[in-house]
Symmetry: C2
Subunit: 385 residues, 2 copies
Amino acid sequence: MEKKSLGTVIPQDFTFGLTGDDMLLLDCGRKIGPVNIRYETYGKLDDSKSNAILILHALSGNAHVAGCLDGDKTKIGWWDSMVGPGKAFDTDKYFIVSSNVIGGCSGSTGPRSYNPESENVFKIYNMDFPVITISDMVRAQYRLMKHLGIGKWLSLCGGSMGGMQALEWAVSYPEAVASVIPIATTSCLSPQSIAFNWVGRQAIMGDQNWNNGNYNDKVPESGLSIARMLGHITYLSDKSMDEKFGRELQESESYSFDFSHNFKVESYLKHQGEKFVERFDANSYLYISRAMDYFDLSSKHGGSLAAAFSKVRAPFLVLSFSSDWLFPPYESLKIVEALRNNSIDVTYCDIKSIYGHDAFLLEVEVLEKIISDFLKCRYEEVKGI
Amino acid sequence: MEKKSLGTVIPQDFTFGLTGDDMLLLDCGRKIGPVNIRYETYGKLDDSKSNAILILHALSGNAHVAGCLDGDKTKIGWWDSMVGPGKAFDTDKYFIVSSNVIGGCSGSTGPRSYNPESENVFKIYNMDFPVITISDMVRAQYRLMKHLGIGKWLSLCGGSMGGMQALEWAVSYPEAVASVIPIATTSCLSPQSIAFNWVGRQAIMGDQNWNNGNYNDKVPESGLSIARMLGHITYLSDKSMDEKFGRELQESESYSFDFSHNFKVESYLKHQGEKFVERFDANSYLYISRAMDYFDLSSKHGGSLAAAFSKVRAPFLVLSFSSDWLFPPYESLKIVEALRNNSIDVTYCDIKSIYGHDAFLLEVEVLEKIISDFLKCRYEEVKGI
């Protein structure tokens, strides 16, 4: 099958919660509204509305999964290699939906949205935005599903924090889920990851420009770029860093004997930090990383992951990567074991890769093969083929 | 043998480089002087001066290895468990020396020392201090050895950056080294570790109080504590963090839904950061971490580690820890292999431990056994027993 690009895509918006009853009740006990969800769709929803797949993004991702925005070929979606005509998520066959999480900064309601509770209508939430959870993100996505007239997802797929949302969907709305593909994820964030998130947030909140979250022209660039650079180290493996950078120097043959970016790996991180600051909001980083900290699927089920999955019947495809030390394979195995304790049909594959956590964006060939086969089976089941 | 505490110890100072000829020539090409070395000694140098052992400290360490300072029992040395009468480094038998590295902030000349080149004698070096290397640190220690009238160390031992110094000693002064014990170290810093150091330094240098290194009353506490907290994550293993903290909350039974230290692991890091700021200097952190970045034992030997060891004859005891991901066992194995290529007598042990890099401070029982046996053999060889 020939793989094609989707071409230009147009982001859409869905707003709900304009009145009290319709507002979104959050895990913290607060209600928010109006809530906007920025989303994109690719392909066509079929007549029986049974070919819809929801793709869920990671910490720094957004709704723009595939194709190019505004006809600008530099604005290609973050998983364009996987989504399009003839690709793993084949838009000739499936109706693909992706939405930006609440708390984000790419169109959906988040800390940089206007706060309707404020007397001054032009006041931004900033730190008055409520602390949200993965479950809150999913609750908002459920509203989007209803809005789109979909009753059940053929599949849900996401890597990293996207995988957390996929798991949460399966547990919170088991009737709305026909299959689940959690990639490089965990059922609860480890203390090591909580620790990295903590350090990243301290860098942002310690930046004088952060100003208790009330920044305007001067954004906390230094703090946000530190958080991002730290994140990047955890997304790579020591082996992939060794292959990619080694101890090579940047633009010099010998040590500079100063504190500028002397090593290639330092230049890389600096560049990643600078790029991130241009596209991401510091307060969103605080809120979304906190949502990840709080994710613990078993917490509402007496600490038992197997109990959390007790109402789940959908088959799972669980994927991990051998060199991923942020969301290590043994975390995926815990999920597999808990699912099997419920006699749920699970396919598990630990993909051999040196790319660490980033592998879920890079190991396209193997992901394409495994995922397209899994989706084909689910599609044929649903269609009775 | 009964183990005893050393009791009160008195730090000493040795100053050299008061005149041009005597100054310390550094790898960067600059000369510095005067240079002070803060050091401590425990036990007695015997008549043949053949029982001297040099203990080398890690990034945040200092010369105070054992006993208590100023008779204050809260000021116990960082390896007191290993050094004292009847202990692994038995002060009834050996003469133990330890010195604070140059670039440090615990007595030896570093960025917070007065800059003699300045017209204003009260001006502190700060960022005018030259960028130093591990080799420079060792060159200064060599002066201390001569000052103490010692011709050859019975052994050199250090963990982490201390291990780098031990390796550098063996290569730079093979005639002055009768045996070497590098623990949890590497022959060159990995790109992953360079990356962590980079992020830590950016946190310090991005702190408004850093002020290009010219801080006085207001020190860059926020940046330095971020660097330290990040360091601490890398010193532990994910498993030891899981055992020590898990996802336990601090002083509350449910999520606080805010950004304060809600998890036990967050409290731990916050506490470590705060403690460190009280005792360590931000500019020293920059200089010492940079020295670690630049450490590459093979760089002056055409990239061959085996060639670097070609003049070495001293037997080695190389130790690593199974869960140390900052200085992983495979880095120690590279050292072992290069030594064996030179037919050097090497004992290697990868100690099974869950404590990560910190294990070199914690796995006292096994270290004591292995090291005391190794030292006993070296002692008997030297004494012809």
